[in-house]
């Protein structure tokens, strides 16, 4: 009797999740057939122990941007494949049951051009599961900022081995961005990172008061935030 109740509860929960996802997709303008296809991809990922939130978010993103179902579905499927690769990398780093966050971060890092061995290096250097996902995220962000994946991997792994915390590493992209904004060249930024100049951090604004300058698309250099001077180039 108990097993029947358990089975019913699990099946009901799974079914509700699937129904809920399909309904959420339809609510955002997806055709029912497309919603069903996405739900199948998500169900397969869940069965494989992969995090499904990146998949649903990518489908939502595609719908928000107005892409067709034919365009969105391959992207979601590709992301599912990348999540599998991320999970494989995490397992090869010695994590038998990697968390969804680690798998998602590993997938994102692979998607930005990091090698599987580099992902493994970061995971092995991290002092814990939370630090592992943060380390991958920071390394992937540095790569997105133009830093070579080997340099980004080295920077994160070295910081962890020197006892830096995940919270400290999370500020590394901001520091790097500030250097680029000041006109520091990419080689010099890499040199500063390797020399540990990014940690401890230069004085920044108070917590919760970060400012992200914006720019009207297609127009000159970004304006400075109110009360600030200077400009911040978008990318090095």
């Amino acid at each position: 009797m108990t097993s029947m109740v358990l089975s019913a509860l699990v099946a009901t929960s799974f079914g509700l999740q699937q129904t809920d996802l399909r309904q959420r997709l339809v609510d955002r303008g997806a055709a029912p057939e497309f919603a069903q296809q996405v739900a199948q991809v998500v169900a397969g990922a869940r069965t494989s122990g992969l995090p499904v939130e990146p998949l649903t978010d990518k489908a939502f993103e595609g719908l928000a941007k107005g892409y067709t179902a034919e365009r969105i579905l391959p992207v979601v499927q590709l992301l599912a494949d990348r999540l599998r690769a991320g999970r494989t990398a995490a397992v090869s780093a010695g994590l038998t049951q990697p968390s969804g966050r680690i798998v998602a971060a590993a997938a994102e890092a692979l998607g930005r051009g990091m090698e599987r061995t580099e992902v493994v290096d970061v995971l092995r250097a991290a002092p814990g599961p939370d630090a592992a996902s943060v380390g991958l995220t920071v390394a992937a962000s540095l790569v997105a900022q133009g830093i070579a994946s080997r340099d980004a991997t080295r920077a994160v792994a070295t910081a962890y081995r020197e006892g830096r915390s995940a919270q400290e590493l999370l500020e590394l992209p901001s520091v790097t961005s500030s250097w680029f904004a000041e006109g520091v060249t990419l080689p010099e930024v890499v040199k500063r990172i390797h020399e540990g100049q990014a940690l401890p951090f230069p004085p920044g604004r108070a917590a919760g008061r970060g400012v992200v300058p914006g720019l009207r698309p297609g127009t000159g250099p970004p304006i400075a935030p109110p009360g600030k001077t200077g400009t911040k180039p978008n990318r090095p």
Binding site: I72, A144, E171
Partner: protein, 210 residues
């Protein structure tokens, strides 16, 4: 009961049993006496309700008076003894927790190990825009997004959002039709659809500017 004539005030008092019979006109008194006899005769024919009436009324109230919803409510609020295996109860609670966690609550950013949240200010210079919003991984790319408001600086649109530490991907949306990257973001990354998303990595101290 066919006597419909009106009685004088003295006659009405007589009917109520107060005045003496000598104060009434004999004709009116005769009419009042007939009326009193008729009432007594009618009352004598009435049967005094017994305890079976109370039981019948309460039975009807239970069977017919209560609506289905109130019956459910009564069942729900009434105490019952329910036998549940602790393992089943624990599993049901776990499933409920998982369902709640996966469908609600703030969107955890990629790589966020802690649930720390800081305020991050987004801004976009768009002098010709009529409205600007921002959508991203922090709100599951929901439309129409989070509206920016006009700043005191002409042409500048701003909004300050509480974001968990970690990485967030997002874009601005101008006039509801044009997706615009944030040139002040930490980076721009491939969105998988052939375009780019802006990326911010929010640290415990927020986001550094130039």
């Amino acid at each position: 009961m066919g006597d419909s004539r009106k009685f004088s005030p003295a006659g009405q008092q007589y009917l109520d049993g107060h005045p003496g019979p000598e104060s009434l006109d004999p004709t009116e008194r005769a009419g009042a006496d007939r009326l009193l006899r008729a009432v007594e005769a009618y009352a004598a024919g009435l049967r005094r309700p017994g305890p079976e009436l109370d039981a019948a009324v309460m039975r009807r109230l239970r069977d017919e008076g209560a609506t289905p919803s109130s019956s459910w409510w009564s069942w729900l609020v009434a105490p019952h003894i329910v036998r549940v295996r602790p393992a089943v109860l624990a599993l049901a609670a776990s499933l409920a927790l998982v369902a709640w966690w996966t469908t609600s609550g703030p969107r955890a950013p990629s790589g966020a190990g802690a649930a720390e949240t800081v305020l991050v200010r987004f801004q976009l210079a768009a002098p010709d825009a009529h409205d600007v919003s921002v959508s991203g991984s922090f709100n599951a790319w929901s439309a129409p997004g989070i509206a920016l408001r006009r700043s005191v600086v002409p042409g500048l649109w701003v909004v300050t959002l509480p974001l968990p530490v970690g990485e967030h991907q997002y874009l601005f949306r101008v006039d509801g039709i044009q997706w615009v990257a944030d040139p002040g973001a930490h980076a721009q990354v491939d969105d998988g659809f052939g375009r780019t998303n802006s990326v911010l990595v929010v640290g415990p101290r927020g986001v550094f500017g130039p």
